[in-house]
Amino acid sequence: MKKHLIIACLALLSFTAIPFITQAQTIKVSGEVTTPLTIDAAYLQKLAPTTVTRKDRDGKDHTYTGVILAEILKNAGVTLGPELKGENLTKYLQVEASDGYQVIFALAELDKSFTDRTIILADKVDGQPLAPGDGPYRIIVQDEKKPARCIKQVTAMQVHFVK
């Protein structure tokens, strides 16, 4: 009983201590794009959902739902599809997380004409929104053995030329 009371008090306190937490995480898409984007939940809903199943660190299969990364990049005017040739093959996508972690994908890794492997920007796992520590958005790379590039808490995506 006492324990419950303490928990209730803590919960109340946590609401009063952080009233300014109002923002929702978005993702900025910038760099070698023709149309810079700011992605939020409403934006993702407009695109066709895709699912990818892969193991997480718990060793169990999970079904992730999201949007194919290349579709978002196409909307930003990134040189994919027929344009992905010549010097455009020296471009890469840099994905950054809120903790500062960064990973990159060569554009060719994301393009359907190069690979059947699906890479999505997920916002759901097993039908539920991603946990706060993982989401709201996480990259899921189909079949990649290590989960290191399944970057969590994505905040920014930039396309760059290799220097």
Partner: protein, 381 residues
């Protein structure tokens, strides 16, 4: 006869030649001595030397290349108390070389006697840092340096007044001319020179560095500590670990990450959330470099832990749950189904032995980083 004359002539010419050579030689020596006394500052590009395994992802802005004269000026400014409102504080006040450029205090006093909200950060290998402060809000050294100089609770003086004060000195206008081409002193030039000096603060000769280049054999405790530092705990497989390297790994023991490390369930200082207003950024701070960590007590953004033992105890047994707690710190345990790391007392000691390997005595004793004024004082004795 003929040949004798020739020889004589040859000897005379040689003598004359050697004479001129000698005169020329003496003249050159005198000249170099003269130029040394009138202009002791070396000029030209500064060669930043560091081990290959540190990588080349370094940050030097195009409009502030590192030069020998710029570094010289920056070092003078780093130790310059005229840059504070009451002429008592310099960068050095909170960043002392013998403490790996920290001040040994939880929070530091500014010119107005008010304490800073956060712990003074150690300075080392800033060349590889892109985001500065405990909350990473400054993009680059130049942007960072402005805050401690001008904040009323730190050095408390506008850059314009600092520039004015330096203009009235005998030495600085000449130095600024050497660095920037004219004697005009501005806040921007002050900040740029300080940043140049800070980029030279490279620490690369700790016992850990020596071990990595095969020049040091660690003790058994150091080796065991290193293993625990780098391994994630996998109790099912019998692998024990503390997983420190997940966020503090690599040859530099710095990865530029930002995490809530479970210090509080309700953080007093909201960290990055104070400007992003995101729940997941609550109590989230920079994961600092561990280089020279044994010299930079007290620890954490608020200096709450006095010793490394307290820090290791925290990660082993006292992580506090909250919505923003880093997922890497949640549910990691050396016991099957355990809630905390549960390191053994001996393992904690071994980790601390490894952390002591990160102390770089070459760095803290490097005369090139020391107060230029006290050095001349020393040589006078």
């Amino acid at each position: 006869m003929n040949t004798g004359k020739k020889q004589n002539l040859f000897a005379k010419v040689w003598l004359k030649k050697s004479h001129t050579l000698l005169v020329l030689f003496i003249f050159m020596i005198l000249l170099s001595g003269l130029s040394f006394t009138s202009n002791p500052v070396e000029t030209g590009p500064y060669n930043l030397v560091y081990p290959a395994n540190f990588g080349n992802r370094i940050s030097i802005p195009a409009d502030n290349p590192t030069t020998k004269q710029g570094v010289y000026l920056g070092r003078m400014l780093f130790y310059e108390t005229r840059l504070s409102a009451n002429n008592t504080l310099s960068c050095n006040s909170c960043h002392q070389q013998n403490k790996a450029f920290t001040d040994g205090l939880a929070l530091s006093k500014g010119v107005d006697g008010v304490l800073t909200p956060r712990n003074s950060m150690s300075l080392a290998n800033l060349l590889w840092a892109r985001k500065f402060f405990w909350d990473g809000r400054a993009n680059g050294l130049e942007e960072q340096a402005v805050t401690p100089l001008t904040n009323p609770h730190e050095m408390g003086q506008s850059l314009a007044i600092s520039a004015q004060k330096l203009s009235k000195t005998a030495t600085y206008p000449t130095l600024f001319k050497l660095v920037y081409g004219d004697e005009h002193i501005t806040g921007d030039r002050i900040v740029k020179a300080i940043s140049q000096f800070e980029r030279t603060l490279i620490s690369a000769n700790s016992r850990y560095d020596q071990y990595q280049r095969g020049a040091y054999k660690p003790t058994d405790d150091e080796l065991k500590g290193m293993e625990l530092f780098n391994n994630g705990p996998q109790p099912e497989k019998g692998i024990r670990g503390a997983n420190c390297g997940h966020c503090h790994g690599g040859p530099k023991t710095y990865m530029e990450l930002f995490h809530n490390n479970g210090l509080d369930s309700l953080p007093k200082d909201s960290g990055i959330a104070s400007f992003t207003h995101l729940q997941t950024d609550q109590g989230r701070f920079k994961v600092p470099t561990l280089r020279n960590i044994a010299l930079t007590a007290p620890y954490m953004h608020d200096g709450r832990f006095k010793t490394l033992a307290e820090v290791v105890d925290h990660y082993s047994d006292h992580i506090l749950e909250s919505a923003s707690l880093s997922t890497f710190l949640r549910g990691e345990s050396n016991e099957v189904g355990g809630k905390s790391l549960k390191l053994l007392p001996i393992e904690k000691k071994q980790i601390i032995a490894f952390l002591n390997m990160l102390t770089d005595s070459t760095f803290i004793n490097n005369p090139e980083f020391a107060d230029p004024n006290s050095l001349t004082a020393k040589t006078k004795h």
